[in-house]
């Protein structure tokens, strides 16, 4: 399946739209009483740019802010929504809810909502690959935030990956916020890459709101890892355009900073780029939007219709 660059970009744009639309819907569902979610509105280009640089054989770990990663990897919004709503048709049968969704069928193998948990698990997944489990040449990508980089486990994971030469791509979505704390209250400005480089790991710091730049950097990093089985590190500079979760009103956010980043919304940027290049006309856009809207509505209906888990699921499946 050889897609042209334009086709690829249009498909990626569509995925960005789908993610945005799903996340907005999840926020709306939360307003109506569904469980809270951590949306990655504003960060969609990170998810799509990196995940599109991976192959089916590769493995992914993510965290509390996973919807974008899951959808970028092809997750079905129906099952995603059902999971958020705690229903049996969710990816995890309603056990996870929004915070720890894994979908092994998509290669999203482990998700931890303990900040840094994903970093603790990722080297082991990559070690298994290196030791012959899974498909040959496969690598692991782990998504985490700038906040996670403050946890000690970040240091331990980097060191192990570097020392053991693990095929592991660290993807730090630096969205400037760690829940209710601005990251500059917790670290020096260029700290994240400095920390990774202290482990001798090759890093790149990329504009995370530029899908093409992210995709190019991720493609380079993935190729490099496959070539020498050593970890690489991507810092994706982006911004959490909404609150930390559901109904957070962002009262504590500097309006100017927010405004600055709103003007750099990755969706609008790609849309403009495609429009200016004559690759996206209003009709196509409208058709896309309509289709996505109907997928999202379908997902909501599906999730609401999906049954609650049976109470027997209270103690299953704890053990294998």
């Amino acid at each position: 399946m050889n897609a042209s660059p334009t086709q690829t970009l249009l498909r990626q744009f569509q995925t960005l739209l789908l993610i945005r639309s799903c996340e907005e819907q999840l926020v709306e569902l939360n307003r109506q009483g569904a469980p809270d979610t951590c949306s990655s509105i504003g960060q969609e280009a990170c998810a799509v740019g990196v995940i599109d640089a991976l192959e089916a054989r590769d493995r992914i770990l993510t965290n509390h802010r996973s919807a974008a990663h899951l959808i970028a990897r092809g997750a079905d919004p129906k099952r995603l929504f059902a999971e958020v709503l705690g229903r049996v048709d969710g990816y995890c049968g309603g056990h996870s809810g929004t915070l720890h969704i894994a979908a092994r069928e998509l290669g999203v193998v482990l998700t931890s909502t303990i900040v840094g948990g994903e970093l603790s698990l990722a080297p082991g997944v990559a070690l298994a690959q290196k030791m012959g489990q899974g498909d040959p040449g496969a690598i692991t990508a782990v998504f985490f935030g700038d906040g996670a980089a403050c946890e000690g486990i970040f240091h331990e994971a980097l060191n192990l990956a570097a020392q053991w030469q693990l095929p592991l791509l660290f993807v730090c979505e630096n969205n400037q916020w760690q829940a209710y704390v601005h990251r500059l209250e917790t670290m020096a400005d260029n700290a994240i890459t400095a920390w990774a480089e202290g482990h001798g790991i090759v890093t790149e710091s990329i504009d995370g709101n530029d899908l093409e730049a992210v995709h190019a950097a991720a493609t380079r990093a993935v190729a490099a890892i496959r070539a020498d089985s050593r970890p690489r590190f991507l810092e994706l500079r982006t911004y959490r355009l909404r609150g930390h979760s559901g109904q957070d009103d962002q009262a504590y956010v500097d309006a100017e900073e927010l405004h600055h980043w709103q003007s750099r919304d990755p969706l609008r940027r790609l849309q403009q780029r495609l429009t200016e290049a004559g690759q996206l006309d209003p009709n196509t856009l409208e058709a896309m939007t309509r289709e996505i809207r109907s997928r999202v509505e379908e997902a909501v209906a599906f999730a609401h219709a999906s049954p609650w888990p049976d109470v027997a699921a209270l103690i299953h499946p704890v053990y294998a």
């Binding site: 229903r87 704390v181 699921a313």
Partner: protein, 336 residues
């Protein structure tokens, strides 16, 4: 008395104690952002947002406590305590003893716990028993706004490390709270919100209202239930429990945490050891399942002990010929 939520009562306690004692400071991920009133009144040196790093937050509190400050740290959700275990268990709990008494650790670690928000097992895990099992700590877990305020104030004035668990299911419930800033609730003393003669129902945090409801429902059945709110899990008010069991001869312990090696196990064994002669029926534990907490609302609800299970158990104990095993043990089984 003023009517307020547990959340407000806790904030008020912090305000009053920080006013009272300049050595008290508050640290946590978003501590300043989330309590702007405190940040405004006491400034950035005493109300600090921290990096996202529970181990160093806790370690720093321990080091500061040994050096003349009285830190309160907000570790958010109880499962995040797993990152802070070395500082809390190996340092705060042990270094006074191991140093032959050279230091003390007046610190309070706050953590929210329990069901109510459908957040699933990595946010919802009642692990208070682990800290009861560990030496050198004190563990509090109140059920009312008044006790939340009074116990937090006591904890901040304590000379020893205190784990203060906040049941998030109760966070927004209202109650009358004392206004006098000198009124505290002593650590280590259980409350007796209802007296009775036939059966002792012991709970803490969100199972106290459950026990009270069960007691009310037992009344028409002619069963007089006494309700104990432990409040303080360590030190545990064993005298209060033993005294009650000596009078009622029947003990049902109810908590949301899982049963194995939990507080109900402790009290069950205590009764079987120290109140054996008084026991007229088997001890019953009604606890959460031995499983992670599911996020799904349906499962989260099912995991919490309900009044009906307590009522059934109590009726079973009353009806049962002396010394037979009870029918109901696990809340979720009773409800299944």
């Amino acid at each position: 008395m003023t009517r307020m939520t547990t959340e407000q009562a806790l904030t008020q306690a912090l305000h009053e104690e920080m006013r009272r004692d300049a050595r008290v400071l508050l640290l946590g991920e978003g501590a300043a952002t989330k309590r702007p009133g405190l940040a405004r009144e006491f400034g950035p040196a005493r109300v600090r947002n921290t990096p996202l790093a529970e181990a160093i937050i806790a370690g720093t509190a321990v080091g500061a406590a040994a050096s003349g400050l009285r830190p309160v740290i907000d570790l958010l959700f109880a499962p995040f305590l797993t990152y802070a275990m070395d500082a809390l268990i190996n340092s705060a709990g042990k270094l006074r003893y191991l140093s032959g008494g050279q230091c003390e650790f007046p610190l309070v670690a706050l953590a929210m716990t329990g069901s109510g928000w459908c957040v699933g097992g990595q946010h919802n895990h009642n692990l208070e028993a682990m800290f009861v099992h560990a030496p050198g700590l004190q563990v509090l877990m109140p059920s009312t706004p008044a006790d939340s305020k009074g116990l937090l104030k006591a904890a901040i004035r304590e000379r020893n490390p205190v784990l203060f668990f906040i049941d998030l299911g109760l966070l927004h419930q209202e109650g009358e709270v004392a206004d006098d800033p000198e009124e505290i609730v002593p650590i280590g003393v259980a409350a007796l919100p209802r007296q009775g003669t036939d059966v002792t129902l012991v709970g803490y945090a969100k199972t106290v209202p459950v026990c009270l409801q069960a007691a009310a429902e037992l009344e028409p059945h002619g069963v007089s239930a006494e309700v104990i709110d432990l409040r303080s899990l360590k030190p545990l008010d064993t005298a209060c429990v033993l005294d009650s069991v000596a009078r009622t001869g029947r003990l049902i312990v109810v908590h949301e945490a899982s049963g194995l090696c939990g507080i109900a196990a402790e009290l069950g064994a205590l009764a079987a050891s120290r109140a054996f002669g008084a026991l007229r029926a088997p001890v019953v534990r009604i606890t959460g399942p031995d499983a992670p907490a599911a996020s799904s609302w349906a499962l989260e609800q099912a995991a919490v002990p309900q009044a009906q299970a307590v009522v059934d158990a109590a009726l079973g104990l009353m009806a049962e010929p002396l010394r037979r095993t009870p029918v109901v043990e696990d809340a979720w089984r009773a409800q299944a």
